[in-house]
Symmetry: C3
Subunit: 417 residues, 3 copies
């Protein structure tokens, strides 16, 4: 939450000083984070890196000189990527540049216009509805110029070159769940992973502007990612105290899907599943046909599905320390399952003797029985065909409970993959 409070006031967009300031704070927290920059105008697949946007000030004054909308009060007040303007306009014209959330009278909506030149302000519906006739002074001191697009990247090498990837974004101004929760949770996970001495997989974290950032990143790393990534997760809207949500990949059957479903089923049986038809964030790019990385998307209240989404109500009160910690714990579990998910094969024909190997512990009767049963079922399906996730689903024991059993079984199991 401390990091959230520090990052909250910054005015981020898909480019500009706000992104750089944010990345620089993340870098303070995790010095291994590298910041990259790509010049405006660079061709990235079907797209072009846009001009950089800088905003210094913006306000609207009433006919009698009262400043009723002020960027310094909330950076949501100005439409993202607004071109500069300084004019006096009649109320009717002003209204065409004013955006409100029609179904919520007291919130400021979040609006952007990246790919069409526009200027505009956002305010509460209540304010807009109270504006009297007259001429209003509108002022936006912004600049669109050839600059750069920035993103951050953390690479943690493991024993294998194969990678697990986490992607999150840093292009939203003062909103908390969408999208400070993603980078904060991802950074915390990266810290924990960096402290693990024996990583099987390598880990890649990217902190990018949404859409144009993932497209830019993919345009520079596509072949490498296709070669290395075994499972990837887009992390977003993951700080509020709601149930988890999961957005499936196009066919819902890659390793990321399987791990996500498994972990959520064990931790939060009431989690929500969305099909890829309900996607909306960077999984759109990672799972696009010619990219085809094994990604899915993890959230709590999914984007577009909660009333505070893309409004000033998505503030620091909407997220909680406990929810952020819970999300980090869930992702640690995802990592743990991935690290241990192998295809095993029992090394002896027939059931092995369990007694001499201490696999009939003499604690409470019921526990013993369940654990012996789990050991036997694990051995029965350790047939070189199924990975631990598949065995787990078949025998009804979570992977996390199988991991210590695999260790106890020692050389009764061999790894097949």
């Amino acid at each position: 939450m401390a990091l959230a409070e520090r990052l909250f006031p910054i005015c981020r967009s898909i480019t500009g000083p706000g992104v750089r300031e944010t990345l620089s704070i993340l870098q303070e927290e995790f010095p291994g984070l590298k910041v990259a920059s790509v010049p405006s105008g660079t061709r990235v697949f079907d797209w072009t890196v846009p001009r950089e946007w800088e905003i210094r000030d913006a306000w609207v004054e009433t006919p009698d000189g009262r400043r009723i909308i002020d960027f310094r009060d909330s950076n949501l007040h100005v439409v993202g990527y607004s071109v500069p303007v300084d004019a006096v306009v009649p109320r009717e014209e002003l209204l065409q540049h004013l955006y409100v959330q029609e179904d919520q009278p007291d919130v400021i909506p979040y609006v952007t216009s990246y790919y069409k030149e526009r200027w505009g302000f956002c305010c509460t519906r209540r304010l807009r509805d109270s504006l009297p006739e007259g001429n209003y002074r509108v002022h936006i001191d912004s600049r669109l110029f050839d600059g750069e697009l920035n993103y951050g990247e953390i690479l943690l090498p493991g024993r294998e070159e194969k990678e697990v990837m986490f992607s999150t974004y840093i292009c939203h101004p003062s909103m908390a769940n969408n999208e400070l929760s993603g980078p904060i949770v991802a950074l915390e996970l990266a810290k924990w992973l960096a402290a693990q001495p024996h990583r099987r997989y390598s880990y890649r974290f990217v902190f990018i502007p949404e859409t144009i950032g993932s497209i830019t990143y993919l345009s520079r790393h596509l072949e490498e990612l296709q070669r290395k990534v075994v499972a990837g997760f887009n992390i977003t809207c993951i700080g509020d105290p709601a149930h988890f949500s999961y957005v499936a990949s196009p066919y819902g059957d890659n390793l990321a899907d399987r791990v996500a479903q498994h972990v959520l089923r064990a931790l939060d049986p009431d989690f929500k599943t969305y099909s890829f038809l309900e996607r909306g964030s960077d999984e759109r790019q990672y799972c696009s046909p010619r990219v085809n990385l094994p990604f899915c998307c993890l959230c709590r209240s999914k984007f577009e599905e909660y009333p505070e989404y893309h409004t000033s109500a998505d503030n620091l009160d909407f997220i909680t320390e406990e929810a952020l910690q819970g999300s980090v714990a869930m992702l640690k579990e995802v990592v743990s399952v991935l690290e241990h998910n192998r295809v095993y094969r029992v090394t002896v024909p027939c059931e092995p003797q369990l007694g001499p190997r201490g696999l009939y512990p003499t604690i409470s009767r019921r526990d013993t029985f369940d654990q012996v049963k789990a050991v036997r079922n694990l051995l029965a399906y350790a047939d070189g065909r199924s990975d631990l996730l598949a065995i787990s689903d078949r025998i009804g024991v979570p992977v996390r409970d199988l991991i210590p059993l695999v260790e106890k079984l020692g050389d009764l199991l061999e790894v097949c993959n």
Copy 2:
């Protein structure tokens, strides 16, 4: 309906002048239709082309000289393929040669005896039950002789040698749904197809006597059909104003099955599906193991499933112009889906820009959203794995709505098959 009225009175059977007269009328309507003839006695797989049957007159007279059954009133009065007879028989013997529909007192059933020599009459149950004792004169002036079996064929070449095939039959005497609706609808579809300038597939229509006709046709064209036909449809009982029916192929999963299900789901969600176990028409031959063509069968009220089936009540009042037109429209849709059903692959990695390509149309808000969503989903699944039918089923948008989108997407899509 005009054509139906013209064809209705003709006494058709699996061979004979009635079939030739019918084919000649179809030829008037579509001069490209070719008539073939195969001599009686020709071996066709496990069968032999039967002798030709000619019927000139047939009647039954009461003891007091009243003509109570007369072929001139209805050609259903005589059992198909009856051998000639001219005799005076007591009532008891007559009854052994009289066929009625026991559950419907006022209709004449349709009965044939192709493969066992017999003579017989059909009449209403009411008439039979009123016959007094006495001697009756029975008279059938028919002839069975070595002649020929006839069928009609229309071939419409397309850009590809691969073919779509439609089969329907012309062996039933005066009944309307079964079986004038089939040839009439097929002929109308052939006319429409002949007028299409850019056919992808070639099209084959056959107008044959049921069973022995399809066996004969297959015995002459099997290898060619196995090489060329991508989807085939047996068309029968398709002129009454009931919901559509579909009889699946043995495994229900060929291209004809997929298209038929797709089109019926979109046009008539209450259509009925029958398994191949409920087959009964020429799909029996087309789908037999060593023929194995990708056929299914399309009807409205399926054969054997309506009370008027194979009786004099299946008359011109039972079919409607609107139902015939609707069936033609349904088959045009089948053709359209087949013509456009390709495996596509998007040509750029990541989502392409839609704005600059005019794919964010500025009509009504709701429509726009749905169309943009459909475009995005189409692109998301244009992965070189799925044909348009599979994409359509996955994203919940009918193929006909995807066709214009495919065209708009232009070189963003490439064809993989």
Copy 3:
């Protein structure tokens, strides 16, 4: 039942004279049965053949010299594999060596301690609860020594080297359903099979001590069994008059699973299916990953699922002649389905003529129709892809009803496997 009565009193265990006496009686009934012996101490996979156990006498006397527990009354009174003891112990110590069925006051439980040296007695709960304070004399005259493990084997050669295998066990003392029913039913089946002149498959029956016996047998025959066995069945608890039960293999899809399900569905639609997670008998060894034989397990009241299981209440009153005969009949049906289960392909394109082949029998209308329908459906799916079991399931006609039709069809069908 006569055989059951003769075998019942013998005190069997996993080794020892009781097993040999039992095998020798089975040999009297079926002279082709071979008895094998494996020395104690032989390494069998992860296990070692245990010492032989011989028991001569065992009793408990009250402080006043009354013999309250006597091995001669029931061989369940002594814990299997008890070491010898002859001592006077206070009631408290005795109680630590007394086993009862807590939930059933009047039965003697069946308890063994093969792999931990122990002595102990089993008695009714009612008796234990009535024991006064005082010193009791305990006496077990048993011997554990390097001897041998014995099992029986019947091999019936067929036209093919491929085998069907039946496994059952002979290591339980005086209990009837578990486990005299298994060997009795298996022996009866072997007699019937030996009398069949034209066996397609070879047949193997093994009569073994449970667990260590199947492990021992597999350690000596694994490669051969993996090469030959097409379907195997563990037969146990199959003599009581309850519905049949079936314990599936790990994936539930081998030939033994398919036949078992098919036959039980036809004979006893209320049969119970258990997953491999509920296994418990020698299917544990036969289906273990590195053995991987196509086995399943067939029972009536499944082991562990009936209150009389492993108690003195599982006596000769618990099984019936009729149930034993019914089990034999069920297994004959299993054999018959296996013998006839082939992949067929129709030899002519299109439907063949049925009339000239007498496949339109002229018995009762309804029967005729169903049989003609079955013939047609059999021909429609005799496509070289599906075996008779698969066709049967698809067309809804039991294999036993298809077998005579296959014979009638003669050279219209060819065998593809």
